[in-house]
């Protein structure tokens, strides 16, 4: 483990990052990250803009693969297997480790087909009834079923931002992932929509492993079990959320949380 202040988790790690470095050209964006993602918990990653939190999240399902000039060192394992090993099927990895982005994207099709798209692509379902059931279950898990059940054939683009983001979560869930990565999923959503998404994530945490990158510190404090604080590409501190926000052990964490760090802290 690196020099970051860390406390052991109460759940086994499904993803382990060890000595993980990532460079954009000559610039180091991640510097030797040693971090465990505990199973069926919510891990929040916080830190100022440019600290490497989104870069790290994207590395967890190999989203840097097609970015030119990116170089990586160290390992990230998922279920004990190195995800950057040449034998890994990236499509399968991304099915098992799903991603929800900051800006909810609706595929240009109706609500039903948005959710059914992944299962159809992966050939997961046989028959209409089974697909109907999966779509309903995914929308329920995404916490948006009640709002869309009477308009499954309506264009997804007609949904509100908050509904669309929950649709995106439902779409990620439809392919039976084990891990869901979320990159600032509520930054463009109003407070009520945000609350719904947070409830959804908390409900899902019993069955899925969730990694949430957020610049909303209150959100991390409200819903995550553990929080990691990144700064300048380094993991500074990681531990139970309550500890990190109440009595962080690294002075840099305290400076960031109290808004004293370089003026870059956002609230």
């Amino acid at each position: 483990m690196s020099s970051a202040v860390q406390e052991p988790a109460d759940a086994p790690a499904v993803i382990r990052s060890r000595g993980f470095h990532l460079y954009y050209g000559a610039v180091g964006a991640l510097k030797g990250i040693d971090l465990d993602v505990p199973a069926r918990r919510i891990l929040a990653i916080v830190g100022p803009s440019g600290c490497g939190k989104s870069t790290f999240l994207r590395a967890l399902n190999r989203m840097h693969d097609r970015v030119p000039n990116v170089r990586m060192e160290g390992t990230i394992t998922f279920d004990g297997q190195d995800i950057y090993s040449p034998t890994v099927d990236v499509v399968d990895l991304r099915r098992r480790v799903g991603m929800v982005f900051q800006k909810p994207v609706a595929f240009p099709m109706n609500v039903y087909d948005n959710v059914a798209y992944g299962p159809r692509l992966h050939g997961l379902m046989r028959g209409r009834a089974q697909l109907d059931a999966l779509v309903e279950q995914s929308l329920r898990q995404g916490g948006v079923w009640d709002e869309v059940k009477d308009g499954l054939r309506r264009p997804a683009a007609s949904l509100s931002g908050g509904q669309l983001q929950r649709l995106a979560i439902a779409r990620a869930l439809a392919v039976s992932p084990e891990v869901i990565l979320l990159d600032e999923p509520t930054s463009a959503i109003d407070p009520i929509g945000t609350a719904r998404i947070e409830e959804t994530l908390q409900r899902l945490a019993g069955d899925y492993t969730i990694v949430l990158v957020t610049h909303n510190l209150q959100q991390a404090a409200r819903i995550s079990d553990r929080t990691a604080f990144f700064l300048n590409g380094e993991l500074v501190e990681e531990g139970p959320t309550e500890t990190l926000f109440h009595r962080p052990r690294d002075p840099r964490t305290d400076e960031y949380l109290t808004g004293r760090y370089g003026g870059g802290g956002s609230r």
Partner: protein, 218 residues
């Protein structure tokens, strides 16, 4: 920008609490002085003034809640406000003990004291010193200074035992002194309690500065 103004407001809150502590010190000083002169009128003025401190405590508590709600502080800032709420309660209790001492001055109005008061004013002076140091430690975020208060509390405890024994001896020798002797015993007890409250202040400072929960007074 909001952060800057929040930290200004937090600083102002700490300074306002320090100013309140000066008023509490003053109550203790004046109460013991009224007692030394068995000055009932001075005692009554102190009793009447207690409302002012109670109101100020309530106002500053409100201020704490306002900062919590509006700024949702975290880490060190959160602990500084949490500690403030504790400190306010302790300051209010200390003022109440001071008022109780003033009430004793009212009860003993014009009486001749059964002995010249030496250790009680000494205890009072120590209590005042402890309050000042505790609040300095809070405003400066100085945990070491807070820890050092324990030594002064020990001195107050020793003085309390001394006063207790001395008064007991006087009462045993002359039963006529029992009424006043008992009153003075209560006064010493109030001062001993005030010193204990200042160790609570010190504990609040340790919590604010280091996030540490530790009993200083065991």
């Amino acid at each position: 920008m909001t952060r800057v103004s929040f930290h200004d407001e937090l600083r102002q809150l700490q300074e306002a609490i320090a100013a309140l502590a000066v008023s509490v010190r003053e109550v203790i000083f004046r109460a013991v002085q009224a007692l030394e002169h068995t000055d009932g009128e001075a005692g009554e003025r102190i009793v009447a003034g207690d409302d002012v401190i109670d109101r100020r405590v309530a106002e500053l508590e409100e201020e704490c809640y306002k900062l919590l709600v509006l700024h949702q502080p975290m880490a060190g800032d959160l602990r500084t406000i949490g500690a403030a709420l504790h400190i306010l309660i302790d300051l209010e209790r200390m003022a109440d003990h001071g008022v109780d001492i003033a009430r004793t001055a009212v009860r003993l109005r014009g009486e001749k004291l059964i002995k010249p008061l030496i250790d009680i004013p000494r205890m009072a002076a120590l209590c005042q010193e402890m309050i000042s140091r505790a609040l300095d430690a809070y405003v400066q975020g100085d945990a070491v200074k807070a820890e050092a208060l324990v030594a002064l509390d020990d001195v107050v405890d020793k003085l309390y035992s001394q006063v207790f024994r001395e008064l007991l001896l006087i009462m045993m020798q002359d039963p006529h002194t029992i009424n006043q002797g008992t009153q003075l015993l209560f006064v010493a007890s109030h001062l001993e309690r005030i010193a204990d409250h200042t160790t609570n202040l010190a504990e609040a400072v340790l919590y604010a500065v280091r996030g540490e929960r530790r009993e200083l007074n065991d």
